[in-house]
Every structure is written in C-alpha cells, then in structure tokens.
C-alpha cells in the first residue's frame, strides 16, 4: 500500500489563527463544503485546554512527512510531534470482502486525547483493530503512518513494540497462562527491543506490584490465568494494567467503559490520566459521555459508515446525548 504522495490540506481555512489549537481531521480533497462546515465549527468552538494534560503552548513544529502543500502550515499552538496519521484508509473483512472502512482520515499528535463516537456498526472497533493489525481485516487502500513508520509493513507485534497499544473490547481468555507470566513476557519483549536487560520473575513482581495497587487490584490476581473466569470489569482493569506495565505512545482504548461500574470507571480513568504525558496520546472509542467527563478529550470524532464525518470538542458529546446521532448528522 503506497503512502499517499501529497499531504492534503490541513483544513486550510483562513479562520485558523495562532491562538487556536486546531483540530487535525483530514477533509477529503473534494469536499469543500465539508471544509466550510469545519471552518464554521472552528470559528464557533471555544478554546478548551484539557486540565489534565500538560501542554506547552508554543508554536507548532513542522510535521515529519514530506511533500507538504505550501498552503498548509501546521497551525501554531501544537507543539507535539505527529504520532499517527491515517489517510483515506479503506478496509474490508478478509473473509467476506465486505467493506467496513471507507476512507478514514485521522491525525493524532503527541499529548492529545481523541475520542471516537458513533453508531453501532459504523466501524469504530474495526478501525482500531485495523490499526493494530488484526488478521480478520484487510487494508485495501489508504495509509497509516505511526511515528514515521508505515504500519502496513509491520507485523502486529512490531506495531506493539513501536508503541501502539490497544485495549480490546472483549479480551480473550487464555487458560493455562498466568497473568504474571504473560505480563513478564510482554514486558521483556519491550526491554529486549530497547536493548535493556530483561527482568526475572522476582524483579518483575517488584515492578508490577505498585501498579496493581494503583488500579486497586489484589496481588493474587497475578496467579490467575489471563482473563480466565474474569468478570467484564476485571478484564478491562487487566487491559489497563497491561497498559501501565508495558507503556505506550498511543493507547487505543476500545470501549473501556463498557461493563464498569462507576467506581471502577473512576479508577480506570485515574490510571489512564496518570499515564498521559506530553509525549503520548490516547484514542478512546466510546458510546457515552460519562467516560469523557473523566478523561477529557481534545477532540471528538463522530464516525459513520466507515468514515469520520465530524470532528469537534466536548460540545459534540453533549449534542449527541441530547439528540442522538441524527442531530449531529443534520448539523
């Protein structure tokens, strides 16, 4: 899959000014109306800085990609490097060849929190699975570039070692492999990549215990087999524990709030917020506004029919709660 040659315009609306950290959606080249709508949105949208993130508000650094359209300038106010750039991604189910993603465009910079919402069946989970390289899906067009590397050339384990983490919506059970062994293996794989010495079981145990405490999980959880007999909430906590142990540059959280009670949700959100720095980002997929109250997003995208159709800030979430997806579509 060739990386697309030219950089599409960064929503080059004259309304963008240096005081706005602008959104990074990639409008499809043809739709000027879309651009118009977006620019309107940007004009109306108030400035919102997420209090839990630490931004340094200086000028934007140029992106690392080549062939920059001279009319585009990375809008100032963004200092993070480009982490993920997805352009016109189309993907089908490998078996049935049914098209699910029909041209997704997304850019994520360091330090940002993105949320994707959308109707059931719009392709949100598929998008995240395609990003990590699930064998059930096949990419048929477009490009995905993560930290300058083309994801399409990389195996799932290579993508994970590059810093892409996905928390599954329904984590699978692995009877026979204990959590401690699994986490140890994953952690050592990371260490090997960074040419650091691997940790033995005892040292790893010392490393992992404080993280367990943060997530309010008991230590005997390590001896149980991976997700075997876990309730939904326990599985989600396990995913976040893996994120805490392994670390990631871009964490994709697929419906991390489903199945969690309010206390568990707060714990998980606290853990995720604690992991956020100016150097890494989070991409959340969720249905409900509730999670967004705990993990404040920089941008919210609405996905419909395999494409991202709207981008905005928290006001989108409020509009969705009030009027459903129809309300958004009409606007």
């Amino acid at each position: 899959m060739a990386v697309s040659a030219s950089l599409h315009s960064h929503g080059a609306s004259p309304l963008l000014s240096s005081s706005f950290p602008s959104s990074r959606p990639k409008p499809s080249p043809s739709s000027t109306t879309y651009l118009y709508v977006l620019s309107k949105l940007r004009a109306v949208r108030p400035l919102r800085l997420c209090p839990s993130l630490r931004f340094s508000s200086t000028a934007v650094k140029a992106t690392t990609l080549s062939a920059i359209d001279p009319s585009t300038t990375s809008p100032p106010g963004k200092d993070g490097k480009l982490l993920l750039e997805v352009k016109d991604l189309t993907a089908v189910i490998a078996e049935t060849k049914q098209e699910i993603l029909k041209g997704v465009n997304l850019t994520v910079y360091e330090g940002e929190v993105h949320a994707i919402m959308g109707k059931n069946g719009s392709g949100k989970s598929t998008f995240s699975k395609v990003l990590v390289g699930h064998p059930d899906y096949e990419v048929t067009g477009g490009s995905m570039v993560f930290k300058g590397e083309n994801l399409l050339d990389m195996e799932p384990e290579e993508r994970s070692l590059a810093g892409l983490f996905m928390s599954f919506q329904t984590p699978v059970e692995i009877p026979g492999v204990s959590n401690a062994d699994f986490l140890n293996m994953a952690y050592n794989a990371r260490r090997r990549k960074l040419n650091q010495p691997e940790l033995g079981p005892l040292e790893f145990y010392a490393y992992v215990c404080p993280k367990l405490n943060d997530l309010k999980m008991s230590v005997d959880f390590l001896n149980r087999n991976v997700n075997e007999g876990f309730s939904g909430g326990e599985r989600k906590r396990n995913e976040i524990l893996q994120l805490a142990v392994i670390g990631a540059d871009l964490a994709i959280l697929d419906e991390i709030d489903s199945g969690l009670d309010i206390d568990a949700l707060q714990d998980v959100a606290r853990a995720v917020n604690g992991l956020l720095t100016a150097k890494n980002s989070v991409l959340m997929i969720t249905h409900y506004q509730r999670l967004l109250e705990f993990i404040k997003p920089t941008y919210i995208h609405v996905m419909e029919n395999g494409k991202i159709v709207k981008t905005g800030d928290i006001s989108i979430a409020k509009a969705l709660e009030k009027g459903g997806y129809k309300a958004i579509a009409e606007r």
Partner: protein
C-alpha cells in the same frame, strides 16, 4: 425403564480440518466383557443383537445372565469364569478354536525356554506359575492383532511383529552403563528384572513390603495370610486381557509386589524405575522384549502413592517394553498412580494397567507419555463396590514419527461411583499420531453414577492425525454422565492477543502449547517430578 446409549463412532480428524465419522450401520452389540466392537467382530457371546441404524440410538443392552454385584475379592470362589461362559476368550480378537497363530506360538516357546521352569519358589503354590499357566492357555488361541481388529484399528503393531523378537537376557547386562544412582525410595527394574543392588528400600513403614515375591515375608502363623498367599489368590483374575497381557504373563521372570497393610499410610512415594539396557541398533531388526510385572495390594484404609517411570537410557535403541501393573485397592483405600513414559523414540512400549477398586476406594492416575515409537497404554478399571472415586488425567505428546495410544475401560457395576477422565494429546509432527479410545461402562446396578470424560487434542502440523473415540455405554437409568471431545489447532484469537502485546508469534505458540499440557502436568502429586517433567516437555517442544 431402562434407557441407555452406546456411542460407537470413531471421529477421525486430520489437521486439514476434515472429520470423518464412521457409524457402523448395523450396530452389533455383543454381551461380553468389554465388548462393543463394530463391524466384523463375530464374538462368541450369548446373544448378538442387530439394530437398525439410529443416530444417537438408545440400544437395549440385555444381559443374558445379569451379573450380580461382585462379592469381596478375598473369596476366590466367585471367579467370573464360572458364570456360564466359554473358556477365556480375548474380547479383542476373533476366537476361532483350534486356530493358533504360529508367530505367537513361536514367541511363546521362546519366552518359556528363556525362563527357569518351574519358577523358583519356596512355597507350595506359586503365583507366578499360576500366571504362566493361564497365559499359555490363552496364547494358544490368540492371534497377533491386525488393523482389522477393532482395538488395534489405528495402532500399527507390525513393526514389532516383523522384528526379530527375543527375550532380554537374565541377569540384565550392562548395568553400569546406565549410571543409575538409587536416590528415591523404590525399586529399580532393568529389562524386566528387579535389581536389588540399585534399589533403595530404606524408609518403609512397618508392615509395608516392596520387592520381589520370592523374598516376601511369610507369616508366622497359619491363620494369618501371608503376602504370597494373598497375592496368589488375586493374581491372574483378568478376563479382558489381550495378546500382550498374555505375553507378559508367560514371559515375566519375577513378580514385584508392593503390599500395604490395612490402615497403613505410606507418606513417601514409592518409585518404580524401569530401564531398558538391552536394545538393538536401528536397522538391525532385533527387538529384545522385557516383561516387568508388578502387583500392588493396598488393603483396607491403606494409602500409598506409586510413581512408575520408564526411562530411556542413552541412545535411541530399539527394544520392546511390555509391562503389566495389577492393582487391588481395598475398601476405603487410596492409591495414587503417576506414570511417566519417556522411552527411546525407536522403542515399542505396550503397557497394561489393571485396577480393581473395592467400595469407597480412590484411584488417581496421572500419565505423561512422551517417548516410544509406538506407545500404548491399556487401562482397565473394575469397580467392585459402591462409592468409588476414579480420576484419570493423561497427556500424550508426539513430537516425531510416534504413535501414542490410550485405550481405557472403566467398568462400573455399583452405585454412586464418581469418575473424571481428562485426556490431552499434542501432535507436533506431520507423521505423528495419537489414538484414544475411552470407554465408560455404566452397568445396570451402577445407579447415581457421576461420570465425566473429556478429551482435547492439539494438532500442530499439517497431516498430524488424531483418532478419538469417546465411548459411554450406559444401562442404568439414574446417572449423570458426560463426555466431550475437541480437536483443534491453537486459537487464533489467543495468538493475536499475544501479538498485540508485543510477543512474537513463535513465543506465543510455545507458551500456548505448553499451557495446553500444563493442565495435566499440574495434577502430578509430587512437586519434584512435576518440575522434572515440565523441564523435559519444554525441551521437547522447543528443541533449540
């Protein structure tokens, strides 16, 4: 209301994903001990019922002569032979009177000639002679099993048959080359002969005897039964044996006895280490056969744990180990049996284990079988009283051109028995094969039985083969029985989960394959053996 079901179909699956099921279109049911073979077996039974094809048929097993609940073992008068039957017939084979297999006869003669006759004994009676007599009688009318015989349908014994079989020499040769250091409590048996110098019997509790029958202590008074007398009454009472059982009976030089008196609890496990020192080199066609035979008697309330280890020695020699273990577990007694087989990959290993459980007794078997070019375990458990507990966990591993076979029969004739069977096999070679035939017979008086059986197989290479036949034969009508079978490769979703966490595919596969077997290995009762087996299996699965 009698409701029962017999499932007599083989499910054969290769790694290409095809599953063939053979249903015998006319289920011929024979009322025989351990019968139930399909197509072609004309057994001499009292009645042969032929039923029209029914899927999941309810067949009525009608006992021509209802077998009464077996009375206590210790009154020898009730021998099954006396219940109207024709002389002992090998249930597995077609008995045609007057027909003898010349190869079998020749082998029988060779074995007889190699042993001192009559066997040395300081007593008026000789259990060993009794065994030999019964065996030679049956060998007269038993033929070498072929692929047409149901119990050997997928097990090819031709390489044994076509080799130059001769009994191992007595006393065993080249003991020093094995470098055995007796460390654990137990016996060392080399080439079928007990080697006292390499055995360690230091710390046995009082009354417990482990050793050859010849050296068993005789009791002072006549009223007390001595060990040899008890053994004499109980040996040889087995009507479900096959050719290999009889060959062992005829060719065994000595009978090792483990005797645990009533109420005695043996804390330390007793190890039985079997070595095969003599062996032919590949291509020579020579196949020395050894016939170790062990008899275990655990009296009422006794508890003992026995670990049988079949070791490989050095080099990949060709030999044939043909051991037999007979166990009698008295009322309320517990017997834990660990059986580890890691013999040479060019060897043949055919083992019989016959267990008789009195009421309220408990038998636990954990088997890990990884060696042998052909390894077959015949397990027969007979329930002789109510409320017994039976747990069987077996792991078979086939990493080269090997056949691993388990044929097990659990016969329940008494109420409230509990049994669980878990069989796992991993076939990691395209020419490897695993066979499983697990029968659980819940007969008419075995009400309120709780029996479960599960077999899971992992096929890791294309053309690796597994043939499984889980078999529940239920006649009683107030029972809880289940069985299940699954044959698969590793699960994609689990492999992807590993990959998504940065662990490469190869490491993930190894971890998952090992964890598949770990469920059975975890059942081994003794941690030292468990660790040893874990390391060994890790090494076999990961030859780097």
């Amino acid at each position: 209301m009698i409701s029962c079901a017999a499932h007599c179909c083989w499910a054969r699956s290769t790694a290409l994903g095809r599953v063939h099921q053979w249903d015998s279109d006319k289920l011929k049911v024979s009322i025989e001990d351990g019968g139930g073979g399909s197509s072609g077996a004309e057994t001499v039974a009292h009645k042969v019922h032929t039923f029209p094809p029914l899927s999941m048929a309810a067949l009525a097993f009608i006992h021509h002569n209802p077998i009464p609940p077996r009375p206590s073992l210790l009154s020898p008068k009730f021998k099954r032979k006396h219940i109207s039957r024709i002389p002992p017939i090998q249930s597995s084979l077609t008995p045609q009177f007057g027909f003898s297999d010349p190869l079998v006869l020749q082998l029988a003669e060779t074995l007889e000639d190699s042993l001192p006759s009559p066997p040395p004994s300081s007593l008026q009676f000789s259990p060993l002679q009794k065994i030999r007599d019964t065996s030679s009688e049956t060998l007269l009318s038993t033929h070498w099993p072929s692929l047409k015989d149901e119990p050997f349908r997928f097990t090819d014994t031709s390489f044994i048959k076509n080799s130059d079989i001769y009994p191992t020499s007595q006393p065993p040769q080249s003991l020093d080359s094995l470098k055995i250091i007796p460390s654990e409590l137990g016996l060392t048996i080399v080439d079928g002969h007990i080697v006292d110098s390499l055995s360690n019997l230091g710390s046995l509790p009082d009354g417990v005897y482990v050793g050859s029958l010849l050296n068993a202590p005789l009791s002072e008074s006549d009223s007390d039964k001595s060990i040899p007398k008890k053994v004499n009454e109980l040996v040889g009472e087995f009507d479900w044996g096959d050719l290999f059982w009889s060959i062992n009976g005829l060719g065994t030089p000595d009978l090792a006895v483990i005797y645990v008196p009533a109420g005695c609890r043996v804390e330390e496990p007793i190890h039985l280490r079997y070595y095969s020192a003599e062996g032919g080199n590949e291509g020579s066609g020579k196949l020395p056969v050894s016939n170790p035979r062990v008899f275990v008697l655990v009296e009422e309330g006794g508890e003992v744990s026995v670990v049988e280890e079949f070791c490989s020695g050095d080099g990949d020699k060709c030999y044939w180990a043909n051991p037999v273990l007979e166990v009698v577990i008295g009322e309320g007694a517990r017997f834990r049996h660990s059986y580890v087989q890691s013999q040479s990959t060019r060897a043949a290993h055919i083992k019989w284990t016959s267990v008789r459980q009195e009421s309220a007794s408990s038998y636990q078997l954990v088997e890990i079988s990884t060696g042998g070019r052909l390894s077959r375990h015949n397990l027969h458990i007979q329930q002789l009283g109510p409320e017994t507990e039976t747990e069987i966990s077996t792991l078979h591993l086939s990493v080269s051109k090997q056949t691993q076979d388990l044929h097990s029969i659990l016969v329940l004739d008494h109420p409230r028995g509990y049994s669980r069977q878990l069989h796992k096999c991993i076939v990691a070679h395209s020419e490897g094969q695993a066979v499983f035939d697990g029968t659980v017979q819940v007969n008419r008086y075995a009400q309120q039985t709780d029996a479960g059986q599960l077999t899971r197989s992992l096929l890791l290479e294309p053309r690796a083969t597994v043939n499984v036949k889980p078999n529940l034969q239920i006649i009683a009508d107030d029972v809880k029985c289940s069985h299940g079978a699954a044959i698969s490769d590793l699960e994609e979703s689990q492999l992807f989960y590993f990959q998504a966490r940065g662990i490469d595919l190869e490491t993930a596969r190894k971890a998952l394959v090992f964890s598949f077997g770990a469920e059975v290995i975890a059942q081994l009762p003794h941690p030292s053996i468990r660790k040893k087996i874990e390391t060994q299996i890790k090494g076999m699965l990961d030859p780097r």
